[in-house]
């Protein structure tokens, strides 16, 4: 541009060298620009190379991480699975078809191609239990809504064949319990808002909806085969004795893991009805509880004579009972206006093994009197009888616990299980401590690794526990618990029949019949508690309402079913050595 401008000014180039110099300048400038550009490109290349090398090095060191795409997420359930101790699913997410009426599916004209009457009639033909009038009302109303929840794929195909675009069947995730009503109180259910209710669904709610809990199943300590056997036998016992309800728990004595926990009547978590959770005031006044109520952890009972071995253990531990052959007076005991007496007369005096074998209230009261309220209370506190039961479930009943200093009469009644009301789970944990060498451990519904087993606390000396094992076995061999003896399984345990308190004192015809057992007594592994609520005397129970005729046979039937599953093989050539105590009891007499 400079040159033409200079021409226009009329200046004439003076020398050739001036033009050349200019050309040289232009060339130099161009070269400079080219070099700069080359440098830029080089810089970019260097950057890219460095970046690529850095990435390669990073990948080389860290490795390529797995891609968690949307597809992988599809396989993760909305709510984690709950499995038993062997990995068998007890609660899982399940995608089911629902029948949904969408009146806007047809853009023009009426919502249905056929008449609503015809569609309703055809739907009733596919689902015979549908209410035709109700369905017809929904179809005529023209509002979107469910016609039916949870339909089978083949039924969905039949609905599809009706050729109605307004009838849709979306696939929806629901909570499903493959074992039906089994372990319903342990599992609980999920309400329509997706919140866990009642059992571990409520206790584990946060864990089950967390990412970690959704990918890994939550493992319970329950063994579903053992649970099934317990429920089955309790249900048989209800039928035989015409009882109002029953409860049972099976506990590992060395870890505190609950292998089965049953409360009957139960409910089906797949179809929870409002009446399962709430009952009328009339029914409540009648002493009934809703089916969703957990009798093992939430209901407290006076468990009667099952407390006697605890009192005796406390007395042996304290040195009050050092000679098991010592005779104690067994005559009725008058304390103030109250008289403690036995169900039957077993003579003027009894020794300790006889006391337990015949379940004598008077001798147990006398032993407790000598032991003193303070020490008996300490033992009960050490067995956590003054707290809600230790378990993860949300429904945990508070015991009826006499606080303050126990007067003489209170000490005596607590000794044989009256005036104190605890849950069957309290009793199971206490019996575990009685037979496992004296260590109390909290009960748990989580499967524990060897490292997770709690250390527990010592309640009884190991020697006391060994004595109690002998005494419990003798009760089953010679005493009130004979109907609990399962041949070869070396069962030991204690009956307990307590009258239920009512409005005007104890109701003499309403009993709570309990049997607390442990097996095998030569090396106890499991505690089994069976409790019948208000058994009636029927022909099947020889018209008896006590534990010996109602709860003890449950143990006799359950133990042979669960023993081999839990690694306890029956062996009639083995038993606990009771030769030192055998001479103290004349065999053959019975009582309650």
């Amino acid at each position: 541009m400079n040159a033409p401008a200079s021409f226009s000014l009329g200046s004439i180039p003076t020398t050739v060298s001036t033009g050349r110099r200019k050309l040289v300048n232009v060339r130099q400038r161009s070269l400079l620009v080219a070099k700069l550009r080359t440098l830029w490109i080089l810089g970019v290349f260097v950057l890219v190379t460095v970046g690529a090398l850095a990435r390669i090095t990073y990948l080389g060191f860290t490795g390529v991480t797995a891609r968690h795409g949307e597809l992988g997420d599809l396989l993760i359930p909305n709510r984690g699975e709950i499995v038993d101790r062997n990995g068998v699913p007890l609660a899982r997410d399940f995608r089911v078809y629902s029948l949904w009426f969408n009146p806007k599916a047809m853009t023009e004209g009426s919502a249905l191609i056929q008449s609503p009457e015809e569609v309703a009639a055809r739907l009733v033909r596919i689902f015979p239990d549908l209410d035709r009038d109700e369905i017809l009302g929904k179809l005529r109303a023209g509002k979107p809504g469910y016609l039916r929840k949870s339909i089978l794929p083949e039924d969905a195909n039949k609905v599809h064949a009706l050729g109605e675009p307004a009838l849709e069947f979306p696939l929806e995730a629901t909570r499903f319990y493959p074992q039906g009503s089994m372990a319903a109180h342990v599992l609980g259910y999920v309400d329509s808002y997706g919140h866990g209710k009642v059992g571990m669904e409520q206790a584990f709610n946060d864990q089950l909806i967390s990412h970690d809990g959704r990918t890994k199943p939550s493992v319970l300590s329950i063994d579903f085969r053992v649970q099934s056997a317990l429920e089955d036998e309790l249900s048989t016992a209800i039928t035989l004795s015409n009882a109002k309800g029953a409860a049972g728990v099976i506990l590992d004595v060395d870890t505190g893991e609950i292998l089965a926990l049953a409360s009957l009547p139960s409910f089906d978590p797949n179809h929870v009805k409002p009446t399962d959770m709430v009952i009328s005031a009339q029914e409540a006044a009648n002493g009934d509880v809703p089916h969703g109520f957990n009798r093992v952890t939430n209901q407290v009972y006076e468990l009667g004579s099952t407390f006697k071995p605890i009192t005796v253990a406390s007395a042996i531990d304290a040195g009050v009972v050092s000679d098991l052959g010592k005779q104690w007076a067994a005559t009725p005991l008058h304390v103030g206006r109250f008289t403690i007496h036995d169900l039957h007369n077993y003579g003027a005096s009894l020794n300790v093994p006889e006391t337990l074998i015949h379940s004598s209230n008077t001798v147990t009261a006398r032993i407790a009197d000598e032991l003193g309220g303070v020490r008996l209370k300490q033992t009960m506190e050490a067995l956590a009888m003054n707290q809600r039961p230790y378990v993860e479930l949300p429904a945990r009943g508070f015991p009826i616990w006499p606080s303050g200093e126990w007067p003489r009469l209170r000490t005596m009644t607590v000794a044989y299980g009256h005036g104190i009301a605890v849950t069957p789970l309290h009793l199971a944990s206490a019996y575990a401590a009685l037979v496992n060498g004296g260590i109390w451990r909290p009960a748990t519904l989580k499967k524990l690794n060897a490292a997770e087993i709690p250390e527990g606390r010592r309640v009884f000396k190991a020697s006391t526990s060994a004595r109690i094992r002998q005494l419990l076995r003798m009760i089953v061999q010679y005493g009130t618990g004979r109907k609990a003896d399962a041949p070869g399984f070396r069962v030991g345990g204690k009956t307990g029949s307590a009258e239920k308190p009512g409005a005007g004192g104890y109701r003499h015809h309403s009993l709570i019949a309990t049997f607390a057992a442990a097996f095998p007594m030569d090396k106890p592994r499991f505690v089994v508690i069976a409790m019948m609520d208000e058994p009636q005397g029927t022909a099947a129970t020889s018209y008896q309402r006590t534990a010996a005729w109602n709860a003890a046979p449950v143990i006799q039937r359950v133990v042979p079913r669960i023993g081999p599953l839990l690694g306890i093989m029956p062996d009639e050539t083995r038993d606990i050595d009771i030769s030192d105590l055998k001479p103290l009891v004349p065999q053959g007499s019975d009582g309650e």
């Binding site: 597809l71 995608r95 499903f176 493959p178 039906g180 062996d571």
Partner: protein
């Protein structure tokens, strides 16, 4: 000449770039095609997995403990085995083979035919390895010698044991006969 050679070099570089570009585009397309195939396969896997879950749940529901109990009550009537049906350990097993007591009935004896004796003097069937299926006692002796370096002492012990078991049993019989 310089200009021409520069030009040629530029054209060369450009061609290399174009070829590389074309190759990389082709490669990218191929990679994406494979990726989409992988995605499709993953989708199918998810569907299959969901189907499996569905079927598993159905099987679990149909075979739940309550259904099995009803089936057992109705069809089979199986009961828990009693103590007498279990054998715990070798001691109990041995107790079953106790010598008959005085006055016990004679054991029922079945007719049998003696197998002609083999070279090792044992009438029993030789032990068969569950892994190889080879008959331990019947191994040709030559084979052992041939594989002298790789001799298997365990197999030889089994072979010796199998050969001698007939003699050991015979001794027991003799002892029992003496008692009677």
């Amino acid at each position: 000449m310089n200009f021409t050679s520069d030009r040629v070099r530029s054209i060369g570089w450009i061609s290399v770039l174009v070829i590389c570009g074309a190759v990389s585009i082709g490669l990218t397309l191929r990679v994406n095609a494979v990726k989409s195939q992988v995605h499709d396969t993953e989708k199918r896997m998810v569907w299959v997995k969901q189907d499996i879950d569905f079927l598993e749940t159905e099987f679990q529901t149909r075979s739940n403990q309550q259904a099995l109990k009803q089936l057992n009550d109705l069809e089979f009537g199986y009961k828990a085995p009693i103590a007498g049906q279990y054998i715990e350990g070798e001691r109990q097993l041995a107790a079953l083979g106790k010598a008959a007591g005085p006055g016990a009935p004679q054991p029922i004896r079945y007719a049998n035919a003696e197998k002609p004796e083999d070279g090792d003097g044992s009438s029993l069937l030789a032990m068969v390895s569950p892994v190889t299926g080879a008959t331990a006692a019947a191994l040709p002796e030559g084979a052992d010698k041939a594989a002298a370096k790789g001799r298997d002492p365990e197999r030889e012990a089994i072979a010796r044991d199998a050969a001698a078991i007939g003699k050991r049993l015979a001794r027991i019989e003799v002892a029992e006969a003496a008692q009677q």
